[in-house]
Structures are given as C-alpha cells and as structure tokens.
C-alpha cells in the first residue's frame, strides 16, 4: 500500500470527522443528531484501519475497528430508543423544545 493512499484516507477521515462535528453542533432533531454521531464514528473506524496499516500492525488496528463498530452500534440502538421515548413523552424531537434549563 503506497503512502499516498494512506494520505488520501487520512484526509477523508478528517472530512468525515468535520462533517460529524458540524452536524452535532447545528442539528436539533434527536434522530439527526444520532446520524451525525454515526458519521463521526465512521471516521473513527476508518482511522483505526489506517493507523494499523501505517504502523505495520494491521491486525490490531482492524480488531480495534471492529470494537469501535460494535460499541457505536450499541450506542445508536440505545440512543434511538431514547429518542422514541422522548417523542412519546414530549411529543417532539426538537432538543430546544424538550430542554427544561431555559424555563
């Protein structure tokens, strides 16, 4: 694997993380916040594979990438279940409306 491929992959990781962070900062819908978190986690998975490959230890990087993938899936499932409960109890998914700190 040539060095330029790793460089392109690192640039893609930075873009993915930037998109995820921007989404987490501006989005107000709870389900879309989970989508932004997923985009962020995809950058993390890719950087695990890239770092393992660049360090010459691809197996460790890949096993850690699978660990991140499983943890991210578990977080997504619980977050979506929480969003459904928020919708049931508050009638909305807007984080500004459900916030009680402003009142």
């Amino acid at each position: 694997m040539t060095g330029s491929v790793w460089t392109i992959a690192i640039a893609a990781v930075l873009c993915l993380v930037a998109i995820g962070i921007y989404g987490l900062l501006i989005l107000r819908n709870l389900i879309k916040i989970v989508v932004a978190l997923q985009v962020f986690a995809k950058g993390t998975i890719l950087i695990m594979v890239v770092a393992g490959g660049m360090a010459g230890k691809p197996a460790i990087g890949q096993s850690l990438a699978i660990t991140v993938l499983v943890a991210d899936t578990a977080i997504t499932i619980v977050a979506l279940a929480l969003a459904i409960q928020v919708r049931r109890w508050c009638g909305t998914l807007d984080t500004r409306v459900i916030s009680t700190l402003r009142r």
């Binding site: 330029s4 460790i60 899936t73």
Partner: protein, 170 residues
C-alpha cells in the same frame, strides 16, 4: 489509487447529504450509502473482514433500526434554526480539526519499526480476547436496554376502593 479516491469522495458526499437532507428517512438512506462505500473503502485498504462487518452491521442493521425508529417516532421536518450559531459552529469545527491534526497526525507519520505478521483472527480471539467478550456483553446490554426503553407506558392500576365506589354512587 483512483478507485480509492472515487470511493472515499462518494462516501464524503453521502455523509454530507445525510447531514443536509431535510427528511429523516432520506437522511438514513444517505447514511446507509455512506456505510456501504466505507465498507468498500476499508476492503480496498486491505481489511476485507472489517469491511464485511461494516457492510452487514453499519449498512444493514443500523439502517433497519433507523427506519424502524423513524417509523415509530414519525417524520418531523423543517426544524428552523441551528442549535449553535453557524459561524460559531465553523470556528469550533476548525479548532477541533486543528487539535486533531496537531495531536494525532505526527504520531501516525512515525515510520513503523517492528512490523508484525499477526493474523487477523489470532489478533481478535487471542490478543484482544477481552475486547471480544466485552463486545458480546455490550451488544446484549444494548438489546436489553432498548427493549426496556421501547416498552409501552404502563398505566397505573386503579384500585377500586369501597370509599371511591361509595363516592361514585352519590
């Protein structure tokens, strides 16, 4: 290298559209496309095992759960305004990227000294066996937690006391 660049560019476009799409269902489908292209990119980078798991879990299972959740919660589009003012979001994102570049990338560029030829399956089941056990526990706890959270609201049972019955009769 051209194929990798095209796949990674497509993945970034899908990720951007997943954030920008106004409808939740469309957003989930863009995210599924992003996952599928990420799986392809990972396979092209020399890790087909991780690519297969990403394709089945990231593009398959997570998309199904998103569609299920959107189906239950219902579409709620056109939420006006951003949580944080957009200029501040851009500044914070730039700061985050600067910190990420400053702290991590120099470490990635250190040349590897001792390369190991550890097979992937040995790394997962022997070297990182604790991780594997924790993953199983995490998945089970997530499933149990989501079942508990998705359960319907339980109405409190009304005790029909003699006093209330007498009050109702009057």
């Amino acid at each position: 290298m051209v194929i990798q660049t095209l796949v990674l560019s497509g993945m970034l476009i899908c990720a951007l559209q997943a954030i920008r799409a106004p409808r939740l269902l469309v957003s989930a489908l863009w995210l599924a496309g992003c996952s599928a292209l990420l799986a392809l990119a990972i396979a092209l980078l020399g890790a087909p095992e991780v690519g297969v798991v990403e394709l089945s879990v990231g593009a398959g299972l997570v998309t199904i759960i998103f569609v299920f959740a959107i189906n239950i919660a219902g579409e709620e589009t056109a939420v006006a305004g951003a949580l944080v003012p957009r200029p501040l979001a851009w500044v914070l994102m730039g700061l985050f990227l600067f910190l990420l570049l400053w702290l991590t990338v120099p470490r990635l560029l250190i040349p590897a000294l001792n390369r190991d030829a550890l097979p992937f399956l040995r790394a997962v089941w022997e070297e990182r066996s604790l991780d594997t056990i924790l993953q199983v526990a995490l998945i089970f706890s997530a499933v149990l937690g989501s079942i508990g959270l998705l359960a319907d609201r339980r109405e409190p049972a009304r005790a029909e006391t003699p006093a209330r019955r007498a009050g109702g009769a009057q």
